[in-house]
Structure formats: structure tokens, C-alpha cells
């Protein structure tokens, strides 16, 4: 009788710990969600007023206390274009090698190790590397080209990983079918693997590019300009970029209070851009995943 009371008391206590423990986990999750929502709310409520057609379509005026951010939007677009042209094909090719050709072995392990390590190299270190390699050694100068290639290197590990995921999701039976009919390896990849993995690869690439477009440290010294009230004419020109513009407006401006409003607007534009691409990619990926399950 006594021991059963003790037992039930112990049971009660462990149930209580479980309740409190799970509650603590739940609170952690809710606070992270709340924080993110609050960030968005703060940016949205203070930045929305700055956004107008003029803001998006005009050059900055009066020492960047008036006017718009068109050169920064165009600059970020052009840099991301270079990044895409460099990182997407190379990322796909490396992924095809790793998933379709490479055998398990020391070299393959070393390649994978390098990719994972590259993903952890600080972005400002990529910036330093870009200064030496693209600006100085290859003499591209501080330009859209140098900045785009620097971001391309930074994006490479993400595009490789995303492309490999996409290749992995293609069932092996597709490959075996092609090989059984006498196709060569490349014929098999071209006709039976790539058509089914390209959507996934591109989705991953878009995610990587959206992140690259938001990077500041790698472009600060490889081509981004403080203030250019006109649009770039070639890929050898310097450029304004949205993230760098936010940094300038928030910290380096001569009249920070006057510029704060526009800084909020610029930050909102950049975040909206990144979030939209992410949501789009998440939706596409969910659809692809469902498709392969059947």
C-alpha cells in the first residue's frame, strides 16, 4: 500500500517534469517565431512608407537624403547575374560528377570535405580573396565582374549541395533503364537524369543566389560604390548594391537621421526580395518532393 503511494508520487513527479520540460521547449520555439515576426513587423511598419514608384525608379538625390534606389537595384541584379553565370553551371557540373561519376574513395571524400569547409569560410575572407585574385591578379579592377565572381565562389558550395540533392531524388531505376537499353553514361545523364533534376537544381540555385544578393562583406572592396547617381554601363564599372547601400545609409551617411527613413525602405526592399525568393523556392521544393514520393 505504502509503496504504491510512493510509486504514484514518483510517477506524478516525472509527469510534472515532462510537462515543464516540454513547455520550456515550446516557449523557446515561440520566442524564436515571435522574434522573427517582430523583425518583419518593425521593418515593414517603418519601411513601407518610404516605398513608392519614385523610390524604386529614381536615382538618389541631394546626397542620398532624397530620391530612390534604382542604381542599387540594378547593381544588385547585374552582380547576381554574374554570380549565377559562374556558380550555377559549375555547381551543377560538380554535383553531376559527385553523384553520377565519382566512386567512394579518398579523392571524393576530399572534394566533399572541401565543399563543406568552403561553406564555412567567412564571407569577408572571400572578399579578401576576391581583392587579390579578381581585382589585382586578373586585373578586373573594382567592378561588377570582380564582385560577381567573388560572390560566385561564395555561392558555389550551396549550389553544389542543392544540385546534388536534386540528383539524388531521381530514382536509380531511371538510370538503370537507360543503361539497360545500351545508353552510354552521358546519354543516360542527359536523357534520364537531368530532365528530372533540373527543376530541383534551379530551385536550389535561386535560393543560393538570393542569399548571395544580400551579402555585403564580399562586395565592399571588390566593386561596390558608395554613391553613383547613374546606372553602370559595363561589367567593368563600379556599382551600387542594395546591401551596401543599407550599410552606408545606416552608418556612413552625413545626416543619418534624415536618411533613416530611406534606409528602412531599402532594407525592406532587400528583405522582401530575399523572402519572396525563399518562399517561392520552399513551395516549389515541397511540390517536387510530393511528386517524387509517388
Amino acid at each position: 500500500m505504502k509503496s504504491s503511494v510512493k510509486k504514484s508520487r514518483r510517477h506524478f513527479r516525472s509527469q510534472l517534469t515532462q510537462f515543464v520540460g516540454f513547455l520550456a521547449l515550446r516557449i523557446s520555439v515561440y520566442s524564436v517565431l515571435f522574434m522573427l515576426l517582430y523583425f518583419f513587423y518593425d521593418l515593414g511598419s517603418k519601411g513601407l512608407g518610404a516605398i513608392s514608384w519614385e523610390f524604386l525608379s529614381q536615382v538618389p538625390r541631394r546626397g542620398m537624403t532624397e530620391g530612390g534606389i534604382l542604381p542599387a537595384i540594378v547593381g544588385t541584379f547585374l552582380v547576381t547575374l554574374i554570380t549565377a553565370l559562374f556558380a550555377v553551371p559549375l555547381g551543377m557540373a560538380a554535383a553531376i560528377y559527385l553523384n553520377e561519376y565519382a566512386r567512394a574513395g579518398r579523392l571524393t571524400r576530399l572534394i566533399r570535405l572541401s565543399i563543406r569547409n568552403l561553406a564555412g569560410v567567412p564571407s569577408i575572407v572571400y572578399g579578401l580573396f576576391g581583392v587579390i585574385l579578381f581585382v589585382n591578379i586578373l586585373k578586373f579592377g573594382t567592378s561588377i565582374l570582380s564582385a560577381g565572381l567573388t560572390l560566385g565562389l561564395l555561392t558555389l558550395p550551396w549550389t553544389i549541395t542543392a544540385s546534388e540533392e536534386a540528383l539524388k531524388s531521381v530514382p536509380d531505376s531511371y538510370r538503370e533503364g537507360a543503361l539497360a537499353l545500351g545508353a552510354t553514361k552521358w546519354q543516360m545523364i542527359r536523357t534520364n537524369v537531368l530532365p528530372y533534376s533540373i527543376p530541383g537544381m534551379l530551385t536550389g540555385a535561386v535560393l543560393g543566389l538570393a542569399r548571395a544578393a544580400g551579402e555585403t562583406a564580399p562586395i565592399m572592396f571588390t566593386g561596390a560604390a558608395f554613391y553613383l547617381p547613374f546606372l553602370p554601363r559595363s561589367f567593368k564599372d563600379q556599382f551600387m548594391a542594395l546591401p551596401y547601400h543599407i550599410y552606408i545609409m545606416a552608418t556612413q551617411h552625413h545626416a543619418i537621421d534624415k536618411a533613416r527613413f530611406l534606409a528602412y525602405g531599402t532594407a525592406l526592399v532587400l528583405v522582401a526580395f530575399v523572402v519572396l525568393f525563399n518562399l517561392g523556392a520552399i513551395l516549389v521544393r515541397a511540390r517536387l518532393r510530393r511528386k517524387w514520393r509517388h
Partner: protein, 301 residues
């Protein structure tokens, strides 16, 4: 069969050529990693013609533009970086682990489908925007709470870096918790442990190496983060004494000074030497985390 044979030698050459192209792209990853190290090292070395390695690593004074006696000591900035990073992890690690545990053990599949993309979204917020939030939102809040003249302090940097390290810690820890075999969990539940006891005494210990790896990867992220600390910590060039003071990290120093420094001076080379230090620190953190994760993967298979 016949059509395949027709291609003969030419087809073989084409096939192996295609393979070579793909292989070269794969090898690029190794080349880039080695290239970063080599070029940073090569560009750092000239700095040590004027500065001794001992001064660089052990002196706290950094004043490369002083006309009388330029100083090249990295220690204050290194201490600032470590302080801000550890502060960030002190917040991000428990919260991150809690979110990971929630995702793996408590959340319904539907809740998971919402929370996981949100965490991914968190990782996608550009660091310059996080820094901006630090200036406009978190900083003023700190100033008000602690009655300071401004909130651009180490604490501000830590809070923001915690946000930036969270996604890494959450996703790696969750992967590790999910990799614990179901049989462990079933055995524990069958012995009468409840789900909380199973989580704390069985799953987390079984996944501990992966959780430690997530800590290290989060640390690597925080150490290398530039824009956020540059904007949010005030950048006072002194040895850090507390979380309510302005500090200046390694990354912020490069970002502030590289734009103004004349090319090919000792100062210029010294900034690359700081970059090299950053590269080496993150390289070893990432490498160790990687080895730990590989080992765990093999163990739990």
C-alpha cells in the same frame, strides 16, 4: 546494340572527355579552398618584414596609422571576437537545442512543416539587415535597459549573432537527434521512461557528438560574421572589459580599414594577415565538426 558499336572509339573519347569536364568542376572545390589559403598566406607574409609574429599575436595595441609608432597587435580584437561569439552561443545554443528537440520530439508533422521553413527564412535574412536591426531596434533597447548613452555594445553584437547562429545549430542538432535509432527510443519507453526522460537521458546523450558539432559550426558562423558586428558593436579599439562596452572584432577591423588603406603597405598586408587568422580559426572549427559528424554517422548506421 549495333548503334552503340557504331560510335566506337570516337564515342569513348567523347564520353571520357565529358567525364573529365565534370571531374574538373568537382576538383575546383579543393582548388578554391587551397587557393584561398595560399593567396592569403602569400599576401600576409610581407607584413612580417616589419612586424614580428610575436607582436602581432600577443600585443593588444592596434594603431597602424600612427605616424610615430604604428602598432600591429591583434589581441584586443581577437578577445573581442571571442567574447562576442561566446556571448552569442550562450544564448543560441540552449535555444537552438530546445528548438531542435521540439522539432524532433514534440512537434506534430504540421507544426514541423511550418517551423522548419521559418528557421530557413531566419538563415536567409541578410547580415546587413540584422546589423540594421541592431542599430535601430536592439541597440536602443539595450541603452534604455542599462541606462547607457548608446546601445552599440558587445551585448548587442552577441544578441544579434545568436540569431544568426541559430539556424545552423537548430538544423545540425535536429539532424543528429533524428539520426538516433528508433530502437533506442523504443527500448527506453518500454522500460517505463516517459518521453521527456527519453529525450534527456537517451536521445540527447546518443546524439551528443552531433550536438557538439552544431555548437562548433555555429561558433564558426559567429566568428566570421562581419556586417552585423561592424554595425552593432560600436567598434571601440580597446581591449574588451565587459558586455556593456563597445568592442571591435577581427572581421570589423578588416571591413573598416581595408577601404582606406593604401595598397601594398604593411598595414594592407597586416589586414590580410587578420584574414588568414580568421580563415585558420574557422577552418579548424569546420574540420573538427565535420570529422565529428562523419564519425557519428558511421556509429549510428
Amino acid at each position: 546494340m549495333v548503334s552503340v558499336k557504331k560510335k566506337g572509339v570516337l564515342g569513348d573519347v567523347k564520353e571520357s572527355l565529358i567525364k573529365k569536364v565534370f571531374q574538373a568542376s568537382g576538383l575546383l572545390a579543393i582548388i578554391v579552398l587551397l587557393g584561398i589559403f595560399a593567396l592569403l598566406l602569400y599576401t600576409s607574409i610581407p607584413a612580417f618584414r616589419e612586424v614580428s609574429l610575436k607582436e602581432f599575436l600577443t600585443s593588444t595595441g592596434w594603431d597602424p596609422t600612427s605616424p610615430e609608432k604604428p602598432e600591429y597587435g591583434l589581441l584586443s580584437m581577437l578577445a573581442s571576437t571571442i567574447m562576442v561569439t561566446l556571448g552569442a552561443l550562450l544564448i543560441a545554443f540552449p535555444v537552438g537545442l530546445a528548438v531542435a528537440a521540439y522539432l524532433s520530439d514534440v512537434a506534430s508533422p504540421r507544426a514541423r512543416e511550418i517551423i522548419k521553413p521559418v528557421v530557413e527564412l531566419l538563415a536567409a535574412i541578410p547580415s546587413v539587415v540584422v546589423g540594421f536591426i541592431g542599430i535601430t531596434l536592439v541597440g536602443p533597447l539595450i541603452a534604455k535597459t542599462f541606462k547607457l548613452s548608446h546601445g552599440l555594445t558587445a551585448l548587442n553584437g552577441s544578441l544579434l549573432l545568436a540569431v544568426m547562429a541559430l539556424p545552423t545549430i537548430i538544423s545540425i542538432s535536429e539532424d543528429s537527434l533524428n539520426a538516433v535509432p528508433v530502437s533506442y527510443v523504443e527500448a527506453s519507453l518500454a522500460l517505463g521512461a516517459n518521453r521527456w526522460q527519453t529525450l534527456v537521458r537517451v536521445k540527447i546523450p546518443a546524439a551528443i557528438s552531433g550536438i557538439i558539432a552544431s555548437f562548433m559550426l555555429g561558433m564558426g558562423r559567429a566568428i566570421g560574421e562581419t556586417m552585423t558586428v561592424l554595425m552593432a558593436t560600436g567598434n571601440a579599439r580597446a581591449f574588451p572589459h565587459g558586455f556593456l562596452q563597445s568592442v571591435r572584432t577581427l572581421t570589423a577591423t578588416i571591413a573598416i580599414e581595408l577601404g582606406e588603406v593604401p595598397y601594398y603597405t604593411t598595414h594592407y598586408y597586416a589586414l590580410f594577415a587578420i584574414g588568414l587568422v580568421l580563415f585558420i580559426m574557422t577552418f579548424f572549427l569546420n574540420l573538427t565538426a565535420d570529422i565529428i559528424l562523419e564519425k557519428q554517422k558511421r556509429k549510428l548506421q
